[in-house]
Amino acid sequence: MYQYNEFDRTFINQRVAHYRDQTERYLQGDLSEDEFLQLRLRNGLYVQRLAPMLRVAIPYGTLSSQQLRALASISNDFDRGYGHLSTRQNMQFNWPALEDVPDILQALADVDMHAIQTSGSCIRNVTTDQFAGAAADEEIDPRPYCELLRQWSTSHPEFEWLPRKFKIAVIGATFDRAAIGVHDIGIRVNGSSEQPENALVDIYAGGGLGRTPVLGALIRERLPVKHLLTYTEAIMRVYNRYGRRDNKYKARIKILVRALTIEKFKAKVDEEWAAINHEQGAVPAAELSRLSAFFAPPSFAELDNAGELLGTQRLENPAFNRWMKHNVHPHRVSGYSVVTLSTKVTGMPPGDVSSDQMDAVASWADCYGFGEIRISHEQNFVLPHIPQDKLYALWQQADAIGLGHFNAGLISDIICCPGGDYCSLANAKSLPVAEAIQRRFADYDYQYDLGSLDLNISGCMNACGHHHVGHIGILGVDKKGQEFYQISLGGHAGHSGEAPRLGQIIGPSVAREEVCDVIEKVIKVYLGLRFEGETFLSCFNRIGILPFKESIYAKAA
């Protein structure tokens, strides 16, 4: 992974010093609430319903065991002993004291981490495939380009005060695990990691969820990667100058793209790019090779696939067998696997992890997996490089502390925002709904039979829980002061290799008590009409929304 040099360290230490001074001036009354708001957001500090929340950047979801241990200590020293994995591959602390934040940021800086630009109307942490560098379906490692964008966007003089937040995602594999289609800019890198400077990039713009969900459109194909920054600069400049600033709900780039039409937006960007001296601004090949070298594969041993051993272990232990089936993914190197450690245990908020769990994950990474850890946008931990003959030992230890659940990709692997329990913008609670669904579908055989199914829940239109791209999406709405839930079907984020798609609403929203029944009816329709081996999503693609509507609303109507 990327290693900080003196420049990076000096930079973040100077940033902490500036923020410490700002906090002191705020506490002395020299900065108003509104002024400080803008400054603290850009240093990761958000104030929500119950307490401040600090969002720590985990660049493209990659961190070292040492860094994860530092996060565990921070959660013990400054918080309540746990942290929260976010859908943008970051970690959030929910209870820090505002006065402590400069010290927390210093503790982060000491392990080469920061919370810069994790909130506010600026370019946010770049996200990518949680399996980058390990996935069997990877064409090229996206991380060097993520790091390039991270550095370029950090405290960019021109683009720190945008109309609204700005999210960039990068993918280099066949399956789009980064959901590039629902980002302000989505980047697909084509090429090979042997020649990082010769990669070609496809650029999508104007995607986003929130109250107006839109899929990004392809605006530039096969751009030589040395122009990635100047082309991004052109997009950013057009957005910074012409994006709406009068209404925050209409300020995302997707609204600008739609107002102009994609053709005119693209023409404006191309015109801007032509005017930039993009040969002079091209990223030097040496810089791309330098960054790529950080992401060279670790020193994998020459191992054979451990099929026979695993076969025996799986037969002996049915729970391990289930975990193998759902949480262990193919690796590009023989004898290794990629492991998802699920945080989705019934009764626990999805994504919440204790400091003990963090420490344990760090030690497993050290013992078995080159000290590397990832965070997935599904809010789980990933250990990207585990030798297959260590899987059983890893699983036993994980299972002992609540991280060995078998449900990756199943209905109980719910993406869920904090909702009405924690968030002041919520229309409805989301955590109790997630828990109720997990209880209703707890039976393993039932879940297994249902197969891969993404169920996503957001407590309001802001869509933090990505409900638009859940195969089943649940959205909290306010109906005359009552908490109601709108259900949509058939959305997906593009993981399957197809272009992403937004879900369709099935009908009038329902009360909290009815949500599980409705989901169960949806599932029954699927089970009744599916062909052998057909996933929920493929079945939906074939039969459409009507049979679901009929089953749910027929009698009531």
Binding site: T10, D30, Q38, Q151, P157, E158
Partner: protein, 140 residues
């Protein structure tokens, strides 16, 4: 006499200056001091201004930063470029790096703080209007 931050050859300092008679775009003639809004489109005529000010309507409005970059890099404007309006003392470093060489604050009391934070880092990740070298281009 208004006080503001000014770039001098050795860095930045707080200066007392005479009041500038700013003229809005529709009344401005070559030779005068021109004040434009952050939504203005840069025009070649502006090269004839004695000085140009960009008026920021809010601390959070980054349009003036892009406009400054365009004036410096695209238009080739080399004259004085002044930031006015709702300028916050903690974001002056962005202004400086986008090519402003004079910064007025709505409240002169904060000039000292602004001066302290005019250049909070010894180096930056990306090149800017005022510095072509950066961590990214030097392949350090």
């Amino acid at each position: 006499m208004p006080r503001l931050l000014k770039r001098i050859p050795s860095g930045w300092q707080i200066c007392d200056v005479a009041e500038t008679p700013w003229i809005a775009q529709d009344e401005w003639r070559a030779g005068g001091a021109l004040q434009v809004g952050v939504d203005a489109e840069p025009l070649a005529d502006w090269l004839e201004a004695s000085s140009v000010a960009i008026e920021f309507p809010a601390m959070t409005d980054g349009r003036g930063l892009s406009l400054a970059v365009l004036m410096r890099n695209r238009l080739g404007y080399r004259g004085e470029l002044v930031a006015r309006g709702s300028i916050h003392q903690d974001i002056v470093h962005f202004l400086a790096r986008c090519g402003f060489d004079a910064i007025e604050l709505p409240n002169e009391e904060h000039l000292e703080t602004a001066l302290k934070w005019i250049d909070p880092h010894t180096g930056y990740y990306q090149p800017s209007v005022i510095r072509s070298e950066s961590a990214l281009t030097s392949a350090n």
